[in-house]
Structures are given as C-alpha cells and as structure tokens.
C-alpha cells in the first residue's frame, strides 16, 4: 500500500477519477476521450502547483515518507561490489548504521550511512535508524581504515537522531558523537556527506563533518524535530508545522544559511517516485565533488575543511 501524504490527496483523487473514466471507456461504447484529456491536463497543472510549491512542512513529510529510498537503496544504485562490514570491536554491531567498501566508477570508496527499516520487523532490528554509541564507533573504525588506505569517504545521513535510551547514555552517546566530530575533522581523505532523508541533530552530525555537504531537495537538517521545537518553544507539539517554517530546516534554507554546498534535485513528487532518476542526480553531484576534492593535497584538504566550518555562524563584532 502506498502512503499518501495529506497535501497529495487532490492529486490522488484526480488520478483515481481518470482511471475510472478510462476503465469506463474501455468497458462501454461511450467515448470519453475529451473528458479524460481535459482531466489529464488539469492533473498536470495540479501536480505542478502542488509539487512546485512545497511548503517546509510538506518537505518534512516527504523526508519521512515510508517509501523514501534508504542508504542501502542508493548504495545498490551508485556503487558496485559493496561489501558490508560489521561491528565496533568493543561492544557490538549497531544495524542502525551500515558501513563497508565498494567501487565508485572503478575506484574504491568507504560508504557509511544511517539505515532505517522498510517494515516494522526491519525497523526493530535497525532501531528505526537511530544509532547507539557502537554505531558511531563502527563508523569511526571504517573512517580510520579509509584514511589508512587513502579511500574517499561517502556518508549518507538519514536519522531522526541518536537513540535517546538508558544504555546509549551508559555507553557514552555524547562521547561517541563528539569523538566522530573531532576525528572527522582531521581525516586526510575527502569526506562527502549527503543528507537523503531526515538529518536529526547530533545523531546526524555524527556522520556529518565533511568537505562537501549536500542535501536532497526534500530532506531536512535540524537541531531538533519540528515537534520537539514546538513543544520546547511554545509548549505545544501540535505547532510542528509552524516550527518547520520558523526553524529553517529545508535544503533551500540551509543553502541560504551557507551551511551546505548543493541542493540535489528530486524527481517530481519525491525521491521514492523514481529511485533510479534520484540516484542519477546524486551520481552527478557526487562525481563532481570527488573530482574537485581529489585535486587537493591532504594539507589543503584539512585547511579548507577548517575554513569551511570556521565561517559557519552569525554574529556581530562591535
């Protein structure tokens, strides 16, 4: 069953009506071709109106769409010979993060990403893509290996956040994320981070320090979920829609704030409509990033990374 978002309802209704008329035409002698073509034109316009004018809250819904492609979907489309490796070597294997190596255009790369489940059973196994400390430590282990073998690192970001649980605190959720931020700052290989769904706060950032940060058009990146922001700021989580606007969390907002490098376009109606087309858009941007970063020496890379982060923020000097 396809998940229909509330704002898409008029489109779905109209599509159903067209399908109805078509089957009616097929089954009887009455010709409704002109009606159908009028409706199809109206559908085209309606789709353009709705998808061409998405509000922040609509994009939040898109980013959370059940059928939205995940890290493993993109890995399959973009890379060859992906081998997944498990475990942080000190506690366990966190399936909320996948990591491994693969070929990208005949060159080996390290690929790491948050991984949501496609159904309830998988979601339980993967903890809904919300990592524990061992997930971040597994990621860091792979990043260090990438540095040793001088492979670029590609991170896919897609999480509601790091898991807020008792065990996570006991094992040092804060330290695990902080360590990744610090170590990623100093890795002498190119790091490219792509937000593909939800970029939830520190849990997203734990895979998010890099040379180039890109976002899919309908993904979000925020310090707190719109619901959380509304509860905290206005004591009413029902104001999430408003918070989504105020908090500036869409790809275009982040581009405007100079936090990300590129907005990667999505097929009309969202990434889930056409995974291959979406992978194609990512491919183009990724290839460009890798090419640009490959020309830099390790020192230049690190200096540019510092320059990049140094300028993020807004303040006055009196």
């Amino acid at each position: 069953m396809k998940q229909v978002l509330d704002f898409e309802k008029p489109i779905v209704d109209l599509k159903e009506k067209i399908a109805e008329l078509k089957s009616f035409t097929d089954d009887s002698d009455i010709d409704l071709e002109t009606e159908i073509s009028t409706l199809e034109k109206r559908l085209e316009k309606l789709e353009n109106d709705i998808y061409g004018n998405l509000q922040p809250w609509h994009r939040v819904q898109m980013a959370r769409h059940q059928e939205r492609p995940t890290t493993l979907d993109y890995i399959q489309e973009l890379f060859t010979d992906f081998i997944e490796f498990h475990g942080d070597r000190s506690y366990g294997d966190d399936e909320a993060i996948v990591a491994g190596i693969a070929f990208y255009q005949d060159n080996p790369v390290t690929v790491i990403g948050h991984q949501r489940g496609k159904d309830t059973k998988e979601n339980i196994r993967r903890n809904f893509g919300m990592p524990h400390p061992e997930g971040y430590r597994k990621a860091l282990r792979h990043m260090r290996q990438a540095e040793k073998f001088q492979r670029p690192i590609i991170c896919f970001i897609d999480t509601k956040g790091a898991y807020p649980g008792k065990a996570a605190e006991e094992r040092g959720q804060s330290e695990a994320i902080a360590r990744n931020l610090m170590e990623m700052a100093g890795l002498s290989v190119p790091i490219i981070c792509i937000v593909i769904g939800e970029g939830g706060s520190g849990g997203a950032l734990g895979l998010g320090v890099g040379d180039h940060i890109h976002m899919l058009e309908n993904s979000t990146y925020s310090v707190i979920s719109p619901e959380g922001a509304a509860a905290l700021l206005w004591k009413d989580s029902g104001l999430a829609r408003q918070a989504a606007e105020t908090m500036k969390i869409t790809s275009y907002d982040l581009k405007e704030l100079d936090v990300i490098d590129q907005v990667i376009p999505e097929p009309r109606g969202g990434a889930h409509r056409d995974i291959k087309a979406q992978a194609g858009h990512i491919d183009a941007v990724l290839a460009g990033s890798l090419k640009e970063l490959a020309s830099l020496s390790a020192d230049e890379l690190l200096e540019k990374r510092w320059e990049k982060y140094k300028q993020i923020g807004d303040y006055q000097e009196l």
Binding site: E169, M182, A229
Partner: protein
C-alpha cells in the same frame, strides 16, 4: 495511629512584620537549594558556593569561577566584542538575549581568555548557565573556536568549564553546526600538541556534551553535575521505564567509564595546578 489524634494544629501562620523584614539586608543570607540550611553570604563565597552542610555544588557565575582559580588580576578576557544576531529572524530572540546580557553583564554564554593559575599561564573558557542556560549559539561557538586557535598559536594549554543545556534553539541549524566548528578547532589544537582539560559542571547536556565537553585529553566533572546527551524525560518516554536517581550524574558517568575523575570544587585549583605542571615539559618541545 493514636498520636494522630493529638497532633498540634497551629491556628495562625506567623508572618514576619515589616520591621523584621527591613532588619535583614537583601542577600546577606543564602539558603542551600538542596538541604535548605541557611548561611551567611560571606560563608558561601569563602566556600565557592559549595554548601558547608551537605556539600551541594551550586552553580557559579563565569567570573566567580575565574576568580576562584586564577591568580589575582592575571585573567585577560578575549572577544568580548562579539554579540549575537538573529539569523533566523526568530520572534522575540533579541529581547531574550538583551535581557540576559543585562542580567549577567556578559556578552554571551561563555567567557574566554587567558590567565595565570599558580604561576602557570593557560587559556581558559568558562560557560555560564545564567545566560540562556549556557546554550550554544553562533557567538559561543565562535568564541570557543577562537580561544582554541589563540591557545594553539600561543602554545598555551586550554581548560574549559562547561555548563550548558545544549543547542540554542533560536539559532536552529547554525547552533547545531557550532558542534562541528568547535570540534574542528579542538582537533587542530590537539594535533598541534596542545593539552585540553574539560571540566563538566552542572548541567552539561545535549550538543555541548556531544562536542567539545567530551573530548578533552582529560575529562573531569564536579560532584552531582547533570551530564548527558538526551533529556531524562525523553528517555523515560522512549524506553517507558523509570530511571535510577543517579542517572546522568557525574558519579553515574564515572561508574560507566565516561569520566577520568569527579573533582570537588575545593580541590579543582590544586588538581589543575599539578596537571599543568606535569604537561609543562611537553609544551616546551612543541
């Protein structure tokens, strides 16, 4: 119980008269937040805001902390001229910042600078939870990053006292990105051979605990300080079970291997002095 029948019930409440109110100057006495014992303000000051009775560590302002550690008159403040803007045009944000600026006399939630502790020069950043809960916005991130760069350039050690509720919501993703920015600065400082000591004080949570607070060469905390990534209420809602009383305290973190040491406020200066002297040799070779 039988004795319940004989309970003394007061018919009237005692209200201090106007005269007795006038007799006690404002702020002469201070009550402990935990055990409620009352002591003279002088005694609190002498005790660096630690309760003489129950040892509860009350929050310190950034300047009280600095004065408790640095040799008199040696602390030089950095970047006091940086002030907050309203990058997301968030309703009411400027007013809130102005209010706390007036209340605390600080430009933002952290004081950075350098000074001398028992004859040894060091860079230091002290967060103040009285300023928007010590939350990290662009100015806090910038000041800490600059302090780390200054420390690197001047070959000084870097000590940070954290006190923060986490990210500054009103600056949205720019606040989140201060976590990366400060961490990149820590990495540069650390790679240059610098000594970084992090002392987590009450409270150190969210984005601050998940960035520079947790990545010192030595991570200390004051007794009883609340330290953690996620909020207690959120965790209770998520896992649907009650958490132990000591959950996310300094002692809890120590038990779970997340801290080097819990340090009493009265011992902080002597510990830092020894630690600085033990690393002085290495610095000369940098």
């Amino acid at each position: 119980m039988l004795k319940d029948f004989f309970g003394k019930k007061r018919k009237y409440a005692t209200i201090p008269n106007e005269e007795s109110k006038i007799d006690i100057p404002e702020g002469l006495m201070k009550k402990c937040d935990k055990c409620h014992k009352i002591y003279y303000r002088k005694e609190w000051n002498k005790n660096i805001n630690v309760c003489p009775n129950c040892d509860y560590h009350h929050p310190l302002t950034a300047w009280d902390r600095i004065n408790s550690l640095f040799d008199e008159g040696t602390f030089v403040e950095w970047d006091r001229q940086l002030t907050t803007t309203n990058p997301l045009a968030f309703p009411g944000y400027e007013e809130k910042v102005d209010k706390d600026r007036n209340k605390t006399g600080l430009n933002e939630g952290v004081v950075t600078g350098k000074g001398i502790i028992d004859g040894q020069e060091t860079a230091c950043s002290v967060m103040d939870s009285n300023f928007r809960m010590g939350s990290m916005g662009s100015v806090v991130g910038e000041k800490i990053s600059r302090a780390l760069e200054n420390a690197k350039n001047e070959s000084l050690p870097f000590i940070i006292f954290t006190a923060s509720g986490g990210a500054r919501m009103q600056e949205g993703v720019l606040s989140l990105m201060q976590m990366s920015k400060t961490s990149v600065a820590v990495k540069r400082f650390s790679d240059a051979g610098g000594l970084m000591v992090s002392v987590m004080t009450h409270p150190t949570t969210g984005g601050v605990s998940a960035s520079f607070a947790s990545i010192g060469d030595y991570n200390f905390a004051e007794p009883g300080a609340l330290i953690g990534f996620a909020g207690r209420r959120i965790i209770e809602q998520t896992i649907r079970e009650e958490l132990p009383d000591d959950f996310q305290t300094a002692e809890f973190l120590l038990k779970h291997g997340q801290l080097d040491k819990v340090v009493h406020r009265h011992e902080m200066k002597s510990l830092l002095t020894v630690l600085l002297s033990m690393h002085a040799q290495g610095r000369k070779n940098v």
